[in-house]
Point group: C2
Chain length 710, copies 2
């Protein structure tokens, strides 16, 4: 029995004890030759088998003709053959008992129908053998800690704490090349390629469990199914920081991502909600990603947000302060005791505040003395040390003083972030700081943003996972909602009718106006008399979606007779405008007079990648124009719903202001929680909109709503 | 006669033919010694006199004791003596006929009252001699084109097209150090220091007129008077691009800037308006500034906005596309002819679209062939060339191919922007591209932003200066407005009363409701009867500012009797609440029924740095909560006013949407133009608010307004 069956296929993939390279080559510059060089050069301890029917030996090493001739089944097959051969190779290794393969070969999904067919074959063969696949069309897999470099990358990354999981092989080569001179090491580098089998979720789960991984870094273009991804992110961020660069933010680039990987780029706002919910630090650009990697590689978790700035130049201190303020950070207030210590070691012209400007002629000793004073200040959570080149002192001396000071603390002090400005004089100083494992950036702004990445990540760790279960009291009448939905489905209707919508909302305790269906003008008149207050009269038709635009809504009718007359007129009006429209009768609805209530929108739709998503926003007829909305994933609790509300502009109004009391925000939040519960309990619902949801200081009312089912 | 008097003091400052260094020193590392080294090393042709009473000679060069002993009056005195000696030095050189001085010495304004007194002396002495001063507390002045380095900077910048004018000397040293290995040259480097005399305006004027200057770069912390600055910016951008990094965007950093330079940091939103109005490209961070300098140093004016992306890796192409879309750029649509040419030179797997992905194994020749095809495409305004390091090809070869291709075009092709990703392999490639004067950046995002800086700047050049004079028809009744203002001033009132406000607005053709003042309830009743429609009744009092909060406003009263009764009750109510409030009577105002009109705010205030500023926004009682406003500087024309309106969120509503016709936006814009005209004609007005300005499809009405005078 091959014990990889016991270990599990993903363990064999990410921690193989033996590897076969299929398509090993000696042709210089070929992928088979470069991958062979990397595999042999990485220091991998287990057996490495070369496979290629066209060779007996390469560089003195025996080459096997095929899987069958190998002395033992390797844990992992690394495949770099032409695409047409890959299904056969999978079959042969699967038959031998190999449970994991990295398919570097390109020429599948990106080549249209024929390629897709070949890829399907690949997946079927692997499934048949219980085998897991990374790729195809990928750079490969690198696990420096075990000396495994199963890739055709151009650099050999050292072992370290960063797991980099990427949908783009090119991004990997760029990041590894950038990281090398910085001394940043990696625990895993996984090029997911076209993700025909193993995707982000499995790779993230593995990195989250891997004790060597301190930080998980993701490059994401898109995926067809996202729910496992979202679950893996939530689990991973409980244990370590996760950074993500997600492209396809805008329509044009979503198309580029599509043509690049064949993946389905989901709605970016939903990705945003997924990252926020999981506490993932989302970066906007590659430059931001690199700075964030620097931060997490060289700092400990940032335990507070009060930053002290130490500088030998005023302007850069002001620049740094500007970014702290703009990005929501806090400038530390230097304690009086520290100020006294600084008075003793600095010239009288020092700034006597934060930023601590130690003046352009500051020699190395002055840097060390000021840094020591600030590191001892309990009011300081982190230090930013800046240096501008001057003709008066040597930037490298100052860097050495900072490095020595930090090193002497042995990790028992606040994090130190640094920026040595300029290039010529700064380059050797930066190298010196990196050797001392101190995070260093090119500009004051980048350094401050690095610090704030640390703060955000730590805050995510504390708050994101504090999740109270949403309680709905009294318990919803799930059966009643289900019956209403079933009725619409049974009738073959995509949209629930008004009474069914009211039933669903009422079942979940969402207040709706009193209403009644009527088949004809006469019964509409009787219904109005029964409701007993002024009513609105609305046409019922599956075909007429924007009812008010075609005269299908009349408001504020008092008494049964008025309603009967208006219903007759409405019928004539609509039949004249659209003789073929199917009309299902009338809705007679309590007229609601809350002119000062805000019009909000609360909705739910099923995102094709991530499933149900709850929307909140400024509602009414201008909802598309205002575009003032926020998204959240169910399940929601009260605090999360309140936070979702507060991410909109209209929230500023809802909190009340001069002359306007605050809206009953708990009631609004409660509607969000209940909509989330509806999404969870009724997967048949594809779309649900309450617009407007009227809200004022007395509560909420779902004045109009639509529900679509599959 | 000394001919600098004919040339002008600023010409002597920026293009001196002879220079004296006062405080020349041989003490290693001192500012006097470094400045001497820089002055002697720069290659300055004219005579350089050293002045120091404590030396006879330094390094074999004769040192004069004082100004009096010099053989001739130098054009420029560079002063690096202790602060107490500076006024005397100014006096002595002024007496000799020197018209310009750079005061490097620190220890003036930043040291409190004593320092300020010394600085005042400095300025007085200079004025007495008609002498102009740069500084004090500055790094100095560098004009590489004439070999003048009158600074204590650590590097010697080469001559080139960038004029850098900075309030921070530290920023200058950082930028020069960064620019040196990039081969970026400078026409002028001016450290303004504490700006006791020469400020931004004069320096910008000089750089705008200087034929060697292609781009003006500013680092701004703040200033006490800004109108000359704004004028200089408008004039300069007609001739060349102006880039600005302005700090103090947020309260905390404004304070840091204050303590740093002693300058008054103006309201940042007003700076924004000043920059926008002048067509200045404002950068947010130092990293952005450096990238922008790279762009303007190495590209020609960007004549179109259609970008083609050429890449050897899919992911970075997607990243670049993302930024193009996010920042409002346009991806070029590759023409069919170009696609055919690319088909002929690229492998069949190339992306066949933009980004043009030439695949990871692309050798140098493929880069050259694809680049040539794209440079010939008339549908392409600019090229972004990306390279990801791979083990398959050499990044430096690819860079050389790009450099050779661009060089062969001899400047007759679209701009080429480049980003070679990574570090180890990318560094020599970047150096090679810079040697070929091709703009190169660290990441795809930075490169795209560089391209978009070029686009924005070119657009500014075309549109900002197209300015039609604002016409107000019929002509305003300036005399009537002046009389109302004069009445308030004569009565010693800060706020105009309601009738005076109505007079001013009416004089400028801004519609107001019919209204009448009344001294007592009985005359209020008569006034209401005269107006003849339902009225609002409002208390008049200078002391009660929020009238509606204290029951001082009653709406919708029909008929004289009702008004008389309500006025009596109001009087009693307010007297009970505040027995000492001085009450001036009542305002009886036509009741306006436009429930569907939008409530806007239009205002004007006098900024202490820049003078009058016109504000537009979403109004009503929630105006502070909404914070949805935009600023513009008068004079306004219709187009500028329309653009100002469109910079707010409420504009989306004003343009109309489903069920709502558009507001009469010309009428709203016309109010902005007229408020601008009021600001220009009546400098006594310190503040003017129209809130709400009601606006609907039928026009506008200034329902409530306040005017304060000095």
């Amino acid at each position: 029995m091959n014990d990889t069956r016991v270990r599990g296929a993903l363990d064999a993939m990410f921690r193989p004890r033996s590897v076969a390279l299929v398509g090993a080559s000696d042709r210089p510059g070929s992928i088979g030759a470069i991958t062979l060089r990397n595999l042999r050069g990485g220091g991998f301890a287990g057996p490495l088998y070369l496979v290629n029917p066209r060779h007996d030996a390469i560089d003195g090493v025996h080459v096997y003709a095929d899987a069958a001739s190998l002395p033992d089944a390797p844990d992992l097959a690394v495949i770099a053959t032409p695409p047409g051969q890959v299904p056969g190779v999978i079959d042969a290794f699967g038959a031998r008992g190999t449970r994991a393969a990295v398919v570097i070969t390109a020429g599948f999904g990106e080549l249209g129908d024929a390629g897709n067919a070949l890829q399907s074959q690949l997946v079927e063969r692997a499934r048949a053998h219980g085998m897991r696949l990374v790729g195809p069309n990928c750079l490969g897999l690198i696990v420096p800690g075990i000396g495994l470099n199963a890739s055709f990358a151009q650099v050999e990354p050292p072992a370290g704490g960063v797991a980099f999981i990427s949908q783009s092989g090119a991004l990997i080569t760029a990041v590894l090349d950038w990281a090398q001179p910085r001394g940043i090491g990696f625990s895993q580098v996984i090029s997911l390629g076209d993700m025909c089998d193993v995707g982000f979720a499995e790779a993230i789960d593995d990195a989250a469990a891997d004790p060597a991984t301190r930080t998980i870094v993701l490059y994401v273009e898109g995926m067809a199914q996202g729910q496992a991804f979202a679950r893996a992110l939530r689990a991973a961020t409980r244990r370590k920081p996760v950074l993500a660069l997600k492209v396809g933010r805008h329509a044009a680039s979503a198309k580029a991502a599509h043509s690049h990987t064949g993946a389905l780029a989901g709605n970016d706002a939903v990705y945003d909600a997924v990252f926020r919910r999981a506490g993932v630090l989302r970066l906007a650009t590659m430059a931001d990603l690199l700075d964030a990697i620097e931060t997490f590689a060289f700092t400990r978790p940032q335990t507070g947000n009060r930053l002290a700035i130490l500088t030998n130049g005023g302007g850069p201190g002001v620049l740094a302060t500007d970014v702290v303020a703009a990005a929501g950070g806090t400038l530390a207030t230097i304690s009086p005791a520290t100020t006294a210590r600084l008075d003793a070691v600095l010239p009288p012209t020092w700034s006597r505040g934060n930023p601590v400007d130690i003046i352009g002629d500051a020699p190395a000793e002055r840097y060390a003395a000021a840094l020591n004073a600030l590191l001892d200040d309990p009011a300081v959570d982190a230090l930013l040390v800046l240096n501008c080149p001057t003709a008066l002192t040597d930037p490298v001396d100052a860097a050495r003083a900072v490095a020595d000071t930090v090193r002497a603390r042995n990790g028992a002090a606040p994090n130190v972030y640094t920026a040595w400005l300029g290039e010529q004089s700064a380059a050797p100083a930066r190298a010196l700081l990196r050797d001392a494992h101190i995070a260093t950036y090119e500009t004051p702004d980048d350094a401050v943003l690095g610090f704030l990445d640390g703060v955000r990540s730590a805050r995510n760790g504390h708050t994101v996972h504090a999740e109270a279960p949403a309680q709905i009291v009294p318990a919803p009448d799930v059966a009643a909602a289900r019956a209403a939905i079933a009725a619409a489905i049974a009738a073959g209707r995509h949209w629930l009718d008004a009474q069914e919508v009211a039933s669903v909302l009422t079942a979940y305790g969402i207040p709706v106006p009193a209403s009644c269906l009527a088949d004809d003008p006469a019964s509409a008149g009787r219904a109005a008399a029964a409701i007993g207050v002024p009513v609105a009269l609305k046409i019922r038709s599956q075909q007429l979606t924007h009812k008010s635009d075609i005269g299908g809504v009349v408001l504020d009718l008092a008494g049964g007779d008025r309603v009967r007359e208006e219903a007759t007129a409405m019928l004539a009006r609509i039949r004249a405008a659209d003789p073929h429209a199917r009309i299902d009768g009338f809705l007679v609805q309590e007229m609601v007079h809350r002119p000062d209530a805000y019009e909000l929108i609360v909705g739910m739709h099923v995102d094709e990648v991530f499933g149900p998503v709850v929307l909140f926003g400024h509602g009414g007829t201008a909802v598309e124009v205002l575009a003032d909305t926020s998204l959240e994933l169910p399940p929601l609790d009260r605090d999360r719903a309140r936070a979702q509300i507060d991410r909109t502009l209209v929230a500023r109004l809802l909190h009340g202001y001069r002359g306007r009391p605050p809206v009953d925000l708990d009631a609004v939040a409660s509607v969000l929680v209940r909509i989330g519960a509806i999404a969870a309990a009724h997967p048949e619902i594809e779309e649900l909109d309450v617009n407007p949801l009227l809200a004022d200081e007395h509560g909420v009312l779902a004045l109009d709503a639509r529900i679509a089912v599959r």
